[in-house]
């Protein structure tokens, strides 16, 4: 008998610039086992959000940072970073400029 599989859920904090696409919410809860799946879930719930975060090639945009709890996923496994149940994810724009 297959055991039931629980897909982790995570709370995603959105930057100001993206809140309009999510009904002006600061945070949303979505399911996904990796950051890539989290982004897919965000795009399902809020169409177009993936393109805000990733290029057409699927890579994370250069000036977008995603933190899993307190770690930048660029220093973990990138979009393949695993997500545990109850995680907090912050999406931030880079500090670009002077």
């Amino acid at each position: 008998m297959d055991l039931p599989v629980t897909i982790p859920n995570a709370t995603v904090s959105l930057p100001n610039a993206l809140r309009a696409r999510a009904g002006n919410r600061r945070t949303v809860v979505v399911n996904g086992s990796t950051i890539r799946e989290i982004i897919a879930a965000l795009d399902h719930d809020f169409p177009g959000l993936r393109f805000n975060l990733c290029y057409e090639t699927g890579e994370l945009r250069s000036y977008v940072n995603i933190f899993l709890d307190r770690e930048n996923i660029r220093y973990l496994d990138g979009l393949d970073t695993p997500v545990r149940n109850g995680a907090t994810i912050h999406i931030l724009q880079s500090v670009a400029g002077g």
């Binding site: 290029y55 057409e56 090639t57």
Partner: protein, 368 residues
């Protein structure tokens, strides 16, 4: 935000795309102007244009710094903006990333739903439903020389689109630094149209392609006549781009970005030329140049324009335009946020906006 209740038919609306948002200027007499922010604050707006063929739809090239590049449209002069249902995005399999949208061009008068867009990396996009869905032109994407196209300083950008109003199958495009291209079969195939235009920066001075065209305009009643401002000169063709004639004459520089034309006296063309190193006015006087005989002579226009040792103004490729009034208005925006206007074909000028962010584009519409 803008208030369209003030926009009366017959008044002129100037759309100014800047490094930090879109601005609208409106005037009934082209002397007193009202300036309003029209949204997209903080966004790099490379180009914006009003399409009046079927209502009033405003398009903007919103090249955000962080969260992506979007073509947007507004039916209420920027009070609210919409994204296309199927926007400008390359297929994942292409391996291409959209860097910037450079130009949005409404189609011919007889095809009111058709809108074109040019982007970096160089490709041509077409909508046939007023901008709601977009598809790219495969003929250009599959061009056999494409692997050898090189970018200019602004990227590999398709910045100019001229759908020929006299021939639904013919169109010209400008790509930096590829040159002028033309299709005669509605985009199925494209040929280069660069003969006699120089590429001084290349070991081959007259290549088939690789020229750095900066801007291209078409004569309104003689469709085979076009003018281009190039990195290496100012040129005119009388045969649809089969070859080009250098019309720089005694202009003080061969380098400049914008070019515009008086639709009522279409042998009258305006250019701004610049010091190619500083990319600002040559000498101390900011000057617009005008020819009234198709490029045989050029006349400096300075009345009302600033001069002095502290004047260093640059004008980008989309930052000059004319309106369709007679006498035509001319509008010139600088990369330091000044907008100059003339209501008498360039004879005199006034500063109609200052302290704007760096200006990327200026387009004008006489409201119907």
């Amino acid at each position: 935000m803008s208030n369209n209740h003030t926009y009366q038919p017959g008044s002129v609306l100037v759309l100014v795309g800047t490094k930090r948002g879109l601005f609208l200027l409106n005037s009934r007499d082209r002397e007193i102007w009202n300036v309003e922010a029209a949204g997209l604050p903080g966004h790099r707006v490379y180009h914006a244009i009003l399409d009046q063929r079927d209502g009033r739809r405003l398009f903007a090239a919103d090249n955000g710094d962080f969260f992506g590049v979007f073509l947007r449209y507004s039916d209420d002069f920027g009070q609210s903006w919409h994204e296309p249902e199927q926007g400008i995005q390359f297929p994942e399999s292409s391996g291409l990333k959209l860097n910037n949208i450079w130009v949005i061009e409404p189609g011919r008068p007889g095809e009111p739903g058709t809108v074109y867009a040019g982007v970096d990396p160089a490709s041509l996009w077409i909508s046939t439903d007023g901008g709601v869905t977009w598809n790219f032109n495969a003929g250009l994407a599959d061009h056999p020389t494409r692997e050898r196209w090189e970018p200019g300083a602004g990227g590999l950008c398709l910045h100019t689109i001229i759908p020929d109003p006299s021939n639904a199958s013919r169109m010209w495009i400008g790509i930096s630094a590829v040159g002028c291209m033309r299709t005669d079969d509605a985009g199925r195939s494209w040929v280069f149209a660069n003969k006699n235009t120089r590429a001084d920066f290349s070991p081959i001075k007259y290549p088939e392609f690789g020229q750095c065209i900066h801007r291209l305009v078409q004569h309104p009643t003689r469709p085979d006549v076009l003018y281009q401002q190039n990195h290496c000169g100012i040129y005119k063709t009388t045969n649809a781009g089969e070859d080009w004639i250098d019309i720089q004459q005694d202009l003080p520089s061969q380098f400049g970005f914008p070019i515009a034309l008086d639709v009522h006296q279409p042998d009258t063309v305006f250019v701004v030329v610049e010091d190619p190193d500083g990319r600002n006015n040559v000498g101390k006087q900011f000057t617009i140049y005008r020819t009234e005989n198709g490029g045989e002579q050029w006349q400096p226009l300075t009345k009302g324009l600033p001069g002095g040792s502290g004047v260093r103004l640059g004008v980008l490729r989309h930052a000059m335009c004319t309106d369709t009034n007679d006498p035509c208005g001319v509008y010139v925006g600088t990369n330091t946020g000044q907008l100059f206007a003339s209501h008498d074909r360039g004879d005199s000028w006034q500063l109609i906006a200052d302290f704007l962010p760096p200006i990327y584009s200026v387009t004008a519409a006489v409201l119907v």
